[in-house]
């Protein structure tokens, strides 16, 4: 049998402060990036919102011989226009629609007319590497490729305020559903810890998007939803093991049981998450430009989703559960045996010293 891990015994919870510090640092970094960018006049904005969210320009070009979408995108990037969407018009053989996000320009481009003119100029500049530009009413020359720009229009956001608000509201609702189900199957502290760690994953991912100014478009919403599902899945696997171990080893502390459970599920974590990571990495490497935002968001989400189920969800759950129990112990100091029932809440309260001792004893 070929196995990566065997009988691991790492005291994960010992590093909980370090873990949480790292996460807080990353989240603060993201927040700082968003705030500073937001406040700086004339600089970039908090997030690099794409044409889906901010609107932009649609240029319709007519080619004598239509180049491939990939080719057009490359030339546009060469002219300094990135994040474009190239959509051929299938019922007109030479025509193609090019959508560009709002462009940064030297002049004041607040008025949409100027924005349109800037877009048109940039596109014309990029396309002229394919052939000569001719006026709309002129015929194409006999020699070589040529193109005309037959329309330039400003377009508004596809995902207006309504969709954005809806996405946030619906995701929050889904998280409430997750909280309730985990509370029902485990304890509500488990549910709260899982939801907090999912929030952490989303915030960290958004933080990276702000720091590195990756473009946020509609596909990123799909990626965020995916990483929420992924992270919750991961957390539940660990929690499930904790619940099982708590039933089997009534004597050990929650602290020790949690460490054991993380260790026992570690090879599963590495294999599953490693496989998903590899698949998403393939998408980042080979998936092309348009899908890059999507795959990068997934990649960050998977790394931090894995990290958070060990480093965020479990410590928070243990901390919270211990607080509850010590509170209960103080409230009813004369309470007799707390055994029986088998739920995590009914376990004897354990002080920090005991945990360290038990962890060291193993």
């Amino acid at each position: 049998m070929f196995q990566i891990f065997q009988n691991v015994s790492v005291d994960w919870l010992r590093y909980r402060k370090v873990f949480i510090l790292i996460s807080v640092a990353i989240m603060l970094g993201g927040l700082a990036s968003a705030l500073i960018r937001d406040r700086t006049e004339g600089g970039t904005e908090a997030f690099n919102l794409g044409i889906d969210f901010k609107g932009g320009t649609v240029v319709t070009a007519d080619f004598k011989q239509r180049p491939s979408a990939e080719d057009i995108r490359d030339r546009l990037r060469g002219a300094g226009v990135s994040d474009t969407i190239i959509q051929p018009i299938t019922d007109k053989p030479g025509q193609v629609m090019i959508r560009l996000p709002k462009l940064e320009a030297d002049e004041n481009v607040s008025a949409e007319e100027t924005q349109v003119i800037v877009g048109r100029k940039k596109v014309a500049e990029a396309l002229s590497t394919f052939g000569v530009q001719v006026e709309v009413k002129q015929e194409f020359p006999a020699e070589g490729n040529a193109f005309k720009i037959i329309g330039t229009d400003a377009v508004g956001a596809v995902a207006g305020e309504a969709l954005r608000n809806q996405a946030v509201a619906v995701t929050l609702l889904a998280l409430v559903g997750i909280l309730l189900y985990i509370a029902f199957r485990f304890e509500w502290t488990y549910g709260a810890a899982a939801v907090i760690s999912v929030f952490h994953d989303v915030l960290v991912t958004l933080g990276f998007f702000s720091i590195f100014q990756f473009e946020i478009n509609l596909t990123v919403i799909a990626a965020l939803l995916t990483l929420v599902g992924f992270s919750v899945n991961d957390t539940i696997v660990v929690f499930d093991r904790i619940r099982e171990n708590l039933r089997m080893h009534r004597r050990s502390t929650l602290y020790a049981v949690t460490n054991d459970s993380i260790n026992q599920t570690l090879s599963r974590t590495i294999i599953t998450n490693g496989l998903v990571f590899l698949s998403v990495l393939a998408m980042v490497l080979f998936g092309g430009d348009v899908l890059r935002s999507f795959s990068v968001a997934l990649l960050i989400g998977i790394i931090f989703g894995t990290y958070s189920s060990i480093a965020i969800a479990s410590p928070i759950m243990v901390w919270w559960q211990q607080r509850l129990e010590s509170g209960k112990a103080q409230a009813t100091p004369a309470a007799g045996t707390r055994s029986g029932g088998g739920g995590a809440q009914k376990r004897p309260a354990a002080g920090t010293r005991n945990e360290k001792a038990s962890a060291a004893a193993r």
Binding site: M1, F2, Q3, V58, S68, E70, I85, I86, Q87, P88, I89, T90, M97, E112, D153, A154, V155, A157, V158, G160, L163, Q166, V170, L173, A174, L175, V176, G177, L180, Y181, R185, T219, A222, A223, L225, T226, G229, F230, N233, I236, V237, D240, R241, S267, R268, I271, T272, G274, L275, L278, S279, V280, A282, M283, F286, G287, G288, V290, L291, L298
Partner: protein, 568 residues
Amino acid sequence: MKKNLLQRVIIIAIVTLVGLWVVIGPRHKPTLKDFTLAGINNTLRENINLGLDLRGGSHLVMQVQVPDYLKRVTENVANGVQTAAREAGYNVKSVRPEVSGDNYRVILEAEDNSKLQQMREQLPNKVNDFGSNVWQSTASGNTITWEMAGGAKDELGRRATQDALRIIDTRINAIGVAEPTLQEHGASNSHQILLQMPGLDDPERVKALITGESRLELMKVVGSTNPTPITTYPTQQAAIASLGGTVPQNRRVLPYDDRDEPTNAGQTPAPKPGEPTSWVVVESPAVVDGSELRSADAVQENPVGGDDGYSISFTLKPSGAQKFGTWTGQNVGAYMAVVLNDRVKSAPFIKSQITDTGQITGNFTKDSANDLALTLRSGALPAKLLYLEERTVGPSLGADSIRAGVTACLVGLALVVLTMVIYYRWSGINAVVALLLNTVLTLGGLIIFDATLTLPGIAGVILGIGMAVDSNVLIFERIREELQSGKTVASAIDMGFARAFVTIIDTHVTTIVSSLFLFVFGTGPIRGFAVTLILGLLANLFTAVYVSRTIFIWELSRKQGRVETLSI
């Protein structure tokens, strides 16, 4: 054991065959050609609806007819001013809207100029939606003129465009068009809307639904009351003549569809020349209009089946119901015109006081009644919409990106399969079988529910496949643990499945619960994601637990008696 195994194998075989048939079975009479690689590829394309981002679709640019809207605003304000003047007891000869070219005016003519200044100051405050920065008033002689300011026209036009966007969005979501993109188009004063939607079976119906004005008004018919039949006129001229040659501000002459003409998708068929249509005179303004609607549903009048004989029943909001109740109470016996887009659909007489429900009858088919109810529910468009251009466009993600995405997915899948087989050896094959079956069943589910696959949907598939791999890894790791603790192969498999099953149920149910929220309350990409994810997870519960288990049972039964080793 043997019998159990046989039963399992039969169930799995049936599910697999049905799934495969749904996915790659052609919808026409199959020929041998359909089972070549190219044939299967073709059938897949036919069977699976791909969204705008993956396959392209229609590109429609439409324009909100703002002059139309401004004219209606002017009429409403004129009506409002008139009502306000009457209620305040001013002596007013007439209030009329006047539209000439690009100028919109409301002209009030008083009997004398004694209270003119007072009216000029006070009347606007009593009119709803007056907008004091919209109308500029001037007074001379016995008349006050409110004229719409130039800047206000743009502002109102923008508002109309925004309203139209919102209403179109509601409508296309209600029909279930998968993930269209809807955005403002052109300069802000061009009032254009760009809609891209995936290829549809019936684009004309959707186009009609989008532009269906669905302006509903309930108005009093002028003339006889029950039991005398309703007063109608054979021609428009005759109707106008009955009013003394000109139509006064408080009357309108409308065509009356004698319940014969078929109606289509909330759009009014133009009166055909030469065809006998009757005309009626109604009181203006309407008693209540579509903005007071609370709900509208298609109902079948005489439930004998078939697609005909439908009507629309509607209920009014409390405010509208109050107005309607008072009015019907005072007008028992009168004929009430149910007016849709300036055509009288029906004109029943009022038997007794009605408060909040009504019906639109008029020989609707099931589809046309449903479509009309849908457009009524979503609210009336602020103005007519005109299609400016219509094109067919390629996928919005770009064919090159899709090709790259497919390559990436295949590379990813190959990596997964390879790792599983290397790491878990023969048991890895087991996982690969479960994965393939999972993909087939997810696609089958998509086809059965006629859902559309888009990029967010693919994200859902990816998460589903990820969790399928995870389920197998959980089971295998558990079996390994049990083997290490010294159990026999058979009992290790039993324990491994039993223990992993609890975890798999918890992870799957959690995700299904949260996806159900996304599905029920979300639209567009969020919904597309939820659909495939839910399907994938349901398929998973079958493949990872049931199919995987069966393969192990088969493995055990093959080696009769005690099995010493397991390739895992």
